[in-house]
Structures are given as C-alpha cells and as structure tokens.
C-alpha cells in the first residue's frame, strides 16, 4: 500500500515505532512534520481534505519536541506523530468551522479533551479537516468549503461526514486523524477511502470540545492506516473526562497489545439482515472473503439475527435530527460566527442568519428535528424512536450472548461518484444502513479495509463488538488486515 514515501523516515513504521524513534532522536520530529507539510502543500489542493493548516505551530511544536528529546526529557508515546483533526472538534486558537458558513473564521477559546490528550502524548497537530456541515452527510458534499475528493478515485466521494479525516490518512497527509461518528461518519468514509476507522463505545472518548450534532450518538474516533495504529491512538484519547458527564470511568486497556492477540476460537457472528437486498455484489463477495479468512484463522463463524435492523435508519433520522434541532439553536448570530448584516429586528436577525448561514441539508435536518419534537408529534416520533432504539440495542445484546463480534459490510457500495446522490436525500441516507444500528446501540465498531472492487475502489468490513470491547474488535480487525496481506 505504501507506494509513496514520506521522505524516508516514516515508511513501514507503526505509530508506536515512530514515537519511539522521535524520543530516541533517530527520527527528527521537525523533519517528519516538514515532510507531511510538504505533501499537504503538494496534494491538498486536489483532495481538499484540509480546511486549515497550522504550519507554523506544527513546526515550532516539532522543534520543541526534538529539543526535549535531545535533553532527554520524558516524551509521550506519540512524540512527533503528525495528526490532523476534523473541523467539528475545538482546538484553541485554530478555526473550527464544522464545515459551515455560519462558523466561518470562528476560533474557539479552548481545546477538546481528545485533542489535548493527543498533544500531551506528543502528537503534532497539522491542521483541521474538511467534513460535511455539522457532520451531517454521507459524502462530504455538504461542506460549505467544497467537496473532498477520494484519493483512490478523484471523481468519487470520500464518504462522510468525516471525509477529510479519511482522505487525509489515505493520501498520507497525516499519520493519523480524528473524526466523529454519529451514524457512520467514521466507518463509512474509512471504507470508501481504504483506511481503518474506529467507532469507540459511547462514553469511551470524551465529547468535550466536539461541536454537537446529536449528543447521544456523537463519538470521536481515530483514523489510521493500520489497525494497530488506530488502536494506539484510541488508547491515548480514551478515558474518563470530568468535563463530559457521559464519559465512562472504566479503565482503558492496552489496545495495541489486545490487537495482537490471536483470534483462534473467537466467535464471529454474521447477520443475514446485512447481506440482503441492496448490497452491491462485489462488496458482498469481498466481505465474505474476509469472513472466510477469519474462519481460516480459527474463528468460529455463526449466523446471528438482528431482526429490527430495518427500523434503524428511520429511527436514527428521527432521534438524530431531534437532538440536532436543539444543538444547532446556539448558532443564532448573537455572539460568534456569522450574523446576517442589515437586519432590523431580532427575529429577522435569527431568520436571516440561520437561513444564509446553514446549508440545505442542515436546514432540512433542523426542520425534521423540530417537527418530531413538536407538541402533538413527540409521542408518535421522538418517543417511539427512543423505544425502537432500545429494541435495536436489545437485538445486539442478544446476539452478543452467542458471539464475540459481528462482521458486516461497512457500506452497501464502494465510493459513489460526486454528485450521484445529491438530489436524492433518501438514497443518501441509506448509505448509512449498516452503520446506524451500532450508533443507536452505543456499541463499538471499526471499519477495516478488506479488498478492492474491480474498479480499484476500496471496500471495508465492519466489525461490531459489545460495549467497551474495543480490544476484541481490534483483534478481529487485525486478523482481517493480516488475511489481506498474507
């Protein structure tokens, strides 16, 4: 896979090795960061993964790390590792547009916990990454700052909403990135771009500093080129945060060690509902081959049933839009971000600011969400949605009594063409059909590359695990990854 070298220094190294090399002085963080900045300079115009690049900050941080390494100061495990962050995550002093015009130029005065932890571990933030506006979308075509192009095929979408985060890793514009997943926004672009994307269990990674789309579903997770690298990054960003009341106090295991454990005897469930009508034939065969390779490595493959899967997409769009309608109320032009000029009254200011500041898809979802929460409709939509959500979670609980992980396709098709689905929101929503279930259930998952289509488009397998069983998910994912390269 690594045909283009980043200079000579990071090729073939895991993030762990890279961090150790910077600590020992064998690799200079400054050179490493420079080589990435040069690649961004050369390639980003075509891909549009970065919305902003913090070259100066990154160089200075890298030089400081090199100086610290020379002095022998203790450095974190990701020392010098160049990372980039989806633009819905706050970093003090850097713009955070969330892909929206309404936040153009907005610089938060504080840093998200996940990013703070990356920085404390020595990672160097190169910049902020493009995404669908407020993480709403499955193709990255809803960004106010232009579509991201899939590095594997430039006329194709990278998936969404974390399209920039997936594309940046795929094009080696960052060693690892952070994205967010609300209904599939990490896993689906990871699948489209041919990289690893992790959906941590809800509560595993602090959401503090994540500009909310749907708070009960939003999760921050890593993208990386390999399962081990992704495990490494998750280990750094995971853990309880007193600033997020929904973050878990469970201790964080050594995910890198977990991902290297053998899979022999691992019970793998395959749900028929995920291999039914609407699934691209090539995707189906490729994922089945990945399952075969798990069997070959000693896993026990069992059919499981997730009978309420077909209710997941409508349930997701009821609940996620309801929360979004409230979360996006704060963008009112009063204190920060865009404010419509030349308005006379307060209600005009609200109306015009929000009408001009938000894009079409965001407005569509605010309307949907406002509707499902309205007096007289709440019970039929929101309350019902909550009930179905519990039923979907029970489906998984039951399945996980029999198996350790569940393997499915991540998306029904490989990356589609830019513009192909923009006029049909429902078909766009169905791109999330295999990912929203885990989002609603709060469980963890991953998308791992498992092959390419006849057109050379990446295909990902999704592995889902019970709450807080990321280690097991990494283990199965790495087995699929190994099955590929063997």
């Amino acid at each position: 896979m690594r045909t283009e070298a980043n200079g000579t220094i990071s090729v073939g190294m895991t993030l762990q090795e890279l961090g150790q090399s910077v600590i020992s002085g064998r690799v200079k963080a400054a050179e490493l960061v420079n080589s990435y900045l040069q690649r961004i300079e050369a390639r980003n115009a075509k891909i549009n993964a970065y919305l902003s690049v913090a070259s100066e900050d990154a160089r200075r941080t890298a030089e400081d790390l090199d100086a610290a390494a020379r002095r022998g100061d203790p450095l974190g495990s990701l020392a010098g590792v160049p990372v980039a962050i989806k633009d819905v995550i706050a970093i003090e002093g850097m713009t955070a547009t969330a892909g929206s015009r309404i936040l153009e130029g907005y610089k938060p005065p504080y840093t998200a916990t996940a990013v703070r932890r990356l920085k404390e571990a020595g990672a160097v933030v190169l910049g902020k990454l493009n995404c669908d506006e407020f993480a709403m979308g499955s193709s990255n075509e809803n960004s106010a700052y232009g579509v991201v192009r899939n590095p594997a095929a430039l006329d194709r979408v990278p998936g969404g909403s974390s399209g920039g985060s997936a594309a940046a890793v795929a094009a080696e514009l960052a060693a690892a990135t952070l994205g967010t997943d609300t209904g599939g926004s990490i896993r689906q672009p990871a699948s489209f771009c041919g990289v690893v994307g992790v959906l941590p269990t809800y509560g595993r990674v602090s959401r503090y500093g994540l500009i909310a789309f749907a708070s009960s579903l939003d999760r921050i997770g890593p993208f990386a080129r390999t399962v081990e690298d992704a495990a490494m990054v998750l280990g750094v960003i995971a853990g309880h945060d007193p600033l997020d009341a929904t973050s878990s106090r469970r201790p964080v295991p050594d995910y890198v060690a977990e991902c290297h454990r053998p899979v022999e005897g691992l019970r793998v469930g395959v749900p028929a509902e995920y291999f039914a009508e609407g699934l691209d034939q090539e995707v189906k065969l490729t994922v089945q081959r990945a399952i075969d390779s798990l069997r070959a490595q000693g896993c026990v493959i069992t059919p499981v049933s997730l009978p309420h899967t077909r209710y997941a997409v409508p349930t997701y769009y009821v609940l996620a839009t309801a929360e979004a309608s409230a979360n996006l109320e704060r963008f009112d032009g009063v204190r920060y971000g865009y404010r419509a000029p030349e308005v006379k009254t307060l209600s005009d200011m609200y109306r015009e600011t929000r009408d001009r500041g938000f894009g079409r898809e965001v407005k569509r979802r605010i309307l949907l969400g406002t509707y499902v929460l309205s007096a007289g409709y709440y019970d039929a939509y929101y309350r019902k949605g909550q009930q179905v959500r519990r039923v979907l979670a029970e489906d998984f609980l039951k399945a996980f009594e029999k198996v350790d992980v569940i393997v499915t396709p991540t998306a029904p098709t490989p990356a589609f063409r830019i513009g192909e689905k923009t006029d049909d929101p429902v078909s766009m929503y169905l791109a999330d059909i295999y990912t929203v279930t885990a989002s609603l259930a709060g469980i963890c998952g991953i998308s791992v590359p498992c092959g390419v289509s006849s057109e050379g488009l990446p295909i990902g397998a999704q592995i889902l695990g019970p709450h807080f069983c990321e280690g097991t998910v990494f283990r199965a994912a790495r087995a699929i990854e190994q099955g590929q390269t063997v």
Partner: protein
Amino acid sequence: MTATSVSTSATTAALAKYEPVIGLEVHVQLLTTTKAFCGCLTRFGSAPNTQICPTCLGLPGALPVLNKRAVEFAVLASTALNCEVRTRSVFARKNYFYPDSPKGYQISQYDQPLAEHGWIEVPSENGPKKIGITRLHMEEDAGKSLHEGFPDSATKSYVDLNRCGTPLVEIVSEPDIRTPDEAYEYLTRLKEIMLYTGVSDCNMEEGSLRCDANVSVRPRGQEKFGTKAEVKNVNSFRFIRSALEYEIERQVEVLESGGRVVQETRSWNAAEGRTFSMRSKEEAHDYRYFPEPDLPPLMVSDAWKREILTAMPELPEARRARMVREYEISEQDAQSLTATREFADTFEAAAKRAKSPRRVANLVQSELMGRLRAAGLELEQSPVTMDGVVLAADLAEEGKLSSKQWKQIFDVAFEKGEDFGVVYEREKPQQISDTATLEKMIDEVIAANPKQVEQYRGGKKTVAAFFVGQVMRASKGQANPALLNELVVKKLDA
C-alpha cells in the same frame, strides 16, 4: 395599597359571587458558590460578562456537568417542603430563542422532576390549611438582556451572561390557593423555609426569588376552573397580593359584564397598580422539551439523601411550637422571633442564659425590634447586644429596673451607640430602696385617694396597681418596684 389605586368597578357583591383559584410558580436561586453546570462563580453584581466560560456561554462543543452542591440544596429544599424526592430524575432541554439564552435552550427538568407531592401549611380564614406543592425541579437561569442605560440603547440591546447557568429550583404549587392573603402567606412560609434550610438568600431585588402567579375565578360552587391568566414580573410579596387583588377584580368584572376571560400572560405594573396583557395563548411557545442527552439521569440514592438530610435544621413551624412551649411565650412572639434562622439562633442563645427567657422575648419585641427598625439597622448592627438584652431582662426580673428606667436606658444606648450594660453602669438609676421613704410616699397617695382605698378594701385587689403607679410617678420612676409592690399591699391591707 397600590392595587386599589386603579380600581375596577367590580362590586363587593359581584366579587362575593366568585371564588378565585390561584397557583404559584416560584423560582429560587440556590446559594451555591459556582454555577449549575460549570465552575463559574455565581456572585451577584460583578462586571458584565466576567463570570463566564465555554460551558455557560454555550460555546459549540462545551458540555454541562452537574454541580453536586446544587443537588444537595435542592434535596434539602424538597424535603423541607414535604416533597418526595425521586430516586431518578431527568434533565430536559427547554427550547426557545432569546439572546440571553446562549444555547438556545434552557436545561431544566420536565416530566421527571427532582421532587413531587409536597405541601406548605398556611393560616387561612378557616384555620390552618395545606397548600399542595405539585413539584420542585432543578434548572439553570438565563443571562440578562439590558435594553436601557447605553448611549445606543435606542437601537441596540446588550447581554450580560454572568447569571447564565446559575442553579435554580422552580417550586410549583397546586391550584389550592383561594385568596391573595393565602398567596402572601404561602410565599412568606416558602421564603422562610428556604432561608432556614440555607439553600437561598431569597433576595428578591437581586432576583434570587421570583414569582409568577396563575389566577382564575369561577362562580362559587362550580367545580370546573375558570380560564386562567398568568401574572409575571412581580417583584415583592406585597405586589403579588396587589396584583392578585387587581387580577381577580378584573376577571370578575369581565365575567359580570358578559365577557370571557382570555388565557394569556399578563405583566404587573407596580407604578400603575394594574396588570397588562403581554401575550395570548396563541403566541405561546412550544418548548419542544426532550431529555438532555449531555447529562445522565440524576440518581439520588437513599444513602446520599440521608447524608444530605443530616444538614436539615429544625424548620420554622416546629421551632415556633417548641419555643412557645419552652419559653412560655406567645405564638405571635414566637412568630417574629423566628423570622430568620440567625435571629432565632441569637435569641435562643440569649434566652438560655437569662433568668427568664420570656422576659428576653418581651424585651426583644418591645424594646429592640422597634428601635432597630426605626434606625434601619440589622440585628448584627444593633448597639445593644444580646448580652445587653439579657442584662436588662435579668435586672427587670429581679425588680431592679422599672419599665420606665429600662426604656430610658435603651433610648440612650441607641442614641449614643452604646450597649445596654455600658449605659446602665454609667447612669445606674438611683433607686429608692429605703423603706421609710417609700412608706411616706405611699401614705401620701393613700391619703389623697380615699375612693380607691375603699374599692380595694371592698375586694377589688387590682386597684393596688393604681397605687404602685402613683408612687412610681411621684418618685420619677426611681422607686424599687419589687419593694414598692410589697409595701403598697402591706399598707392597703393594714
């Protein structure tokens, strides 16, 4: 009273035909050092927008974390109001757009509030009456919109977000209140309980206690409630009583003249003594409440509740009853001595070291309170300390001071800003305790009032007090009262 300054034409006869139904919603600011969902200070009166952070500014990505102390206060308040505290309550988002609400929603509680089913007992025309409390829930305050006081206020409004996120409890009564006086009593008791439990300073000027009233009238005997109006913007208990009086008269007048009461929100204008329509029901908000996903359900375990309730003080009602019993004072004295917990504590400490607690109560009532009020002083600022009051009480009890004498000493003490003991030592009244002198004076009075002597000897023993008074006056108040009493009776009985 302001309510009657703009009187409606509803007659007493018309008013008598209708029964008012009143429910109150009271917001009480909790006395925490920091805000409900962030670490910012709640201090009042700081420079605008200085007590703020990403969370209370509602900045994108910032999250709320519940203040444990606020829960403890709310549980204390709930229990003091006889409410059942739910083991599990749920925060909800109440959505509305306004510039002083930076998230676009208020974090509140909706269908699963912290506490329910409480009551407050109030005196009413027909004896003590329980006013039900539907619920007590926790929520955060909004900021403040400033529409006046800036050079460009004609075209702009400013926003101060210091208050944003301050913890509140909202206490909603049942529609059990039937008169403006009951409403006034309910609020007075409620405030007293909040002060006693120490959960709020209930300062209405600073907005720590705010009240909205729902009021309707119905023909007496009718079960169904009339259409209600909500009266907002009332910032004292007296005004609430006035606003309710006005609103009841207004509604009766509407009905009597064949009209219909409109469901609406009305604002109280204290200067004009009337309520004005703010908005009708058609313009009412749909708040689109739903569970706050950023906060897990609030769990108050029995163990935690027990721990919280160890801080529960003796509540005013119980304390009054005990004080009446223990110090043999009147209900009324007990009432005013327990106005605040601090005052009651101070009084009780003094009463315990005095020879007669009752005497201390009397002196506090008759000598101290009035003078403090007149001088505009708080108890802590009083020149006469509780030790001074105890001294006065003991001297009075021993008959060493007449009421005229102690009144004089209190006057001087307040005039010069000195304690009772200091004045007493300096101006210790020259008491006439010489039996011969007093007897001579008594003889003179007896000689001058033969009619009264006759009455006394005819069996009307209370006339003795008349002779004591006369001698006291003749002695310019310096006669030793105890000795005088004794001698008068002896002479008259002789």
